[in-house]
Symmetry: D2
Subunit: 81 residues, 4 copies
């Protein structure tokens, strides 16, 4: 689940392997681009960490972040089901 701390909305995701993790990232990339709101994220092998906050709002968590988080969860839930 997402944790809000230090003005960031954060969640870690785990996948079977690198290819599945990157397929997840590809779908998230499309969602982010469509929203015009992009994540801070990192990946190593099958793990993806995402931190959401809004640069244009002095780096706090805004509704843009909460909306993107919901979209990311929907992508993950479908992939991981």
């Amino acid at each position: 689940m997402w944790i809000e701390e230090n003005n960031q909305l954060k969640r870690k995701f785990q996948f079977v392997d690198f290819v599945e993790a990157f397929a997840f990232m590809t779908q998230v990339a499309f969602a982010a681009e469509k929203q015009g709101h992009h994540p801070n994220w990192s990946n190593v092998y099958n793990q993806v960490e995402i931190a959401l906050f809004t640069h244009d709002a002095n780096n706090i968590v805004t509704d843009k972040d909460r909306k993107l988080a919901v979209l990311i969860d929907a992508i993950y839930d479908k992939l991981a089901s």
Copy 2:
């Protein structure tokens, strides 16, 4: 399911939308590159058609195609579950 006709192994796949179709294609692209064996494929919106045959074997269906088909099915089954 895959149909074998005219020396090609063919299957049509359908997804919710373009982004999901392209995420499928991304995973298939990784599998193909890893096998060193690439599909003939087309996409329009949420539909992907794949035709497999082996150029180096006079354009007939070989074990390389059957192996890639199995990998593609596994990707699809997981995405569409």
Copy 3:
């Protein structure tokens, strides 16, 4: 260059290898999704064929297609430079 025939705007693109072709497709996919207008396209190894027409306008070439063609050219020109 793009050729307009049979109410389709068509162009063939060639790349060094499959990975470069698929990287091109990924960028085109983002452009298409952003425009809400998607190509009919096919790929085999290092070749990509794109056909543009507008389903909602009785399958003729419209300004939506011409706009997407310009975006695709910009992606290709940068990749192939």
Copy 4:
């Protein structure tokens, strides 16, 4: 250029926008998967930071990392040319 510090080989890459950054990441993902050696990397908007080290060799920089770095540079040089 790559900097080696704290047993990591690191480089920052900058692109025109998010889509170009993600297209770069897609090509790097293919190279990494082909090598069976994956980066630690992060992205925010048009910036990508990559850190390479070898988990199986007690987290130091090995030839696997140097080889992947060369492949990543070739991808970047072509995209950014």
